[in-house]
Subunit: 217 residues, 2 copies
DNA sequence: GTTTGTGAAGGATTTCACAGCA
DNA sequence: TGCTGTGAAATCCTTCACAAAC
């Protein structure tokens, strides 16, 4: 088992607002930044200035998970980063399967940002027989029929979907059937999934489309 | 001037919640999907089923912008899509400048998803002199010193940042100084910008990092 | 009969403001 | 003195529920 529960933080995920969980990685990132700049202690005020949010929100967010600061001083940068990483499960490796090895899939496979953060792509799949068997970096492209057994064998907890929009819902269905509960979706669709499955979309066009509203108005 | 204000919708962007604006592109996308499936009329119930949200929320969201439906029937798919596109400014072209022509920048330049949605990358920049002058697709890589005049000349309204994290804040500062108020940021940082500038991050790692919380807890 | 549009209610999130601790 | 942690207040967002429209 790659991912061991850390007994030091037993958090009821139900009791923490989802928005708060989504901000946690941001805190980790900024803390790492300050740590590598040699800063050892930081206040919620300073964190807030860098993240463009109020100090009160940062303190309240952190209060869902514990008491990490020292009154009159602030937070120990290294310690807080470590604690938050542990809470998020970022202190262990997470295996991911990549589905769709076209142009986008190969770009994602080659993206160097996953590995250092503990995310490892351990399998690659494509529906196209002509791609199956080919090597993409260290991975051999597999047929989708092998999804179920590979998810089990390689302890895949995350699915990364880089297939064309027309096939994305079906591929996501297959991932869900294979037991994957966390999906990173690059396809420009809003997939329908059971309530216990989490989908995060990565979609530059969607991001641009909401900005034009403000450019125009 | 590429982007003409559409006089049919005069919306006070202050009065519309930001979350609502961010859902609008999703509605457009689903409506296009239904339109190309030949469906002409759709209820908020059906839309909600596909987007996994309540019909009431969809109706309330739309009510910020007008009255698009017919009681007892629902919404005309084509008409609603057109109206929403107009409200978002998606009925005109938007020019973007891409800064950072390394691996990621070239992948973004080659991404075929922007063009069909009306986003056009009209300039490419890099700080590295060895890249300046090279051609990437139809673009000639320019020096960053030319940013200001090029933004003006080519009516660039959007900056797309694909430089390494260490340079991203400085590049974003330059974009802001050049008058760009909408930025799509691929760099893994949380940049500080003036209040009238909008930044949307595209960050697969951040998305993954909040999902692991739920995998673990 | 069906479904919209919308005030009002309810729930969630953010901010305030201050007691308590270093 | 300076800053955290946190109840209470304020704000923001979602859902309810129903009159009006087709």
């Amino acid at each position: 088992m790659v991912n061991s529960d850390n007994p030091t933080d037993g958090i009821d995920s139900e009791s923490v607002p989802e928005v708060v969980v989504q901000r946690l990685p941001l805190y980790v990132r900024v803390l790492s930044h300050f740590a590598s700049a040699g800063i050892e202690v930081i206040s919620s005020e300073q964190l807030g200035a860098h993240l463009q949010m109020t100090p009160a929100q940062i303190r309240k967010d952190l209060s869902y998970f514990g008491r990490f600061g020292k009154q009159g001083r602030g937070y120990d940068v290294g310690n807080l980063a470590t604690r938050l990483r542990s809470i998020l499960g970022l202190d262990s490796q997470w295996n991911a399967g990549l589905i769709g090895m076209g142009r986008l899939g190969r770009a994602v496979a080659a993206y160097p940002g996953f590995q250092p953060e503990g995310f490892r792509i351990v399998a690659a799949f494509d529906a196209d027989d002509r791609l199956v068997g080919h090597e993409v970096g260290p991975l051999r492209v597999q047929a989708l029929a092998e999804l179920n057994e590979t998810v089990e064998e390689r302890d895949i907890k995350i699915g990364i979907v880089t297939v064309p929009a027309a096939h994305a819902q079906e591929v996501i269905n297959q991932l869900v059937r294979a037991g994957v509960r966390s999906i990173l979706n690059y396809a420009p669709i809003a997939p329908v999934v059971p309530p216990d499955v989490r989908v995060q979309g990565v979609d530059p066009v969607l991001a641009l489309q909401s900005m034009t509203f403000y450019l125009k108005n």
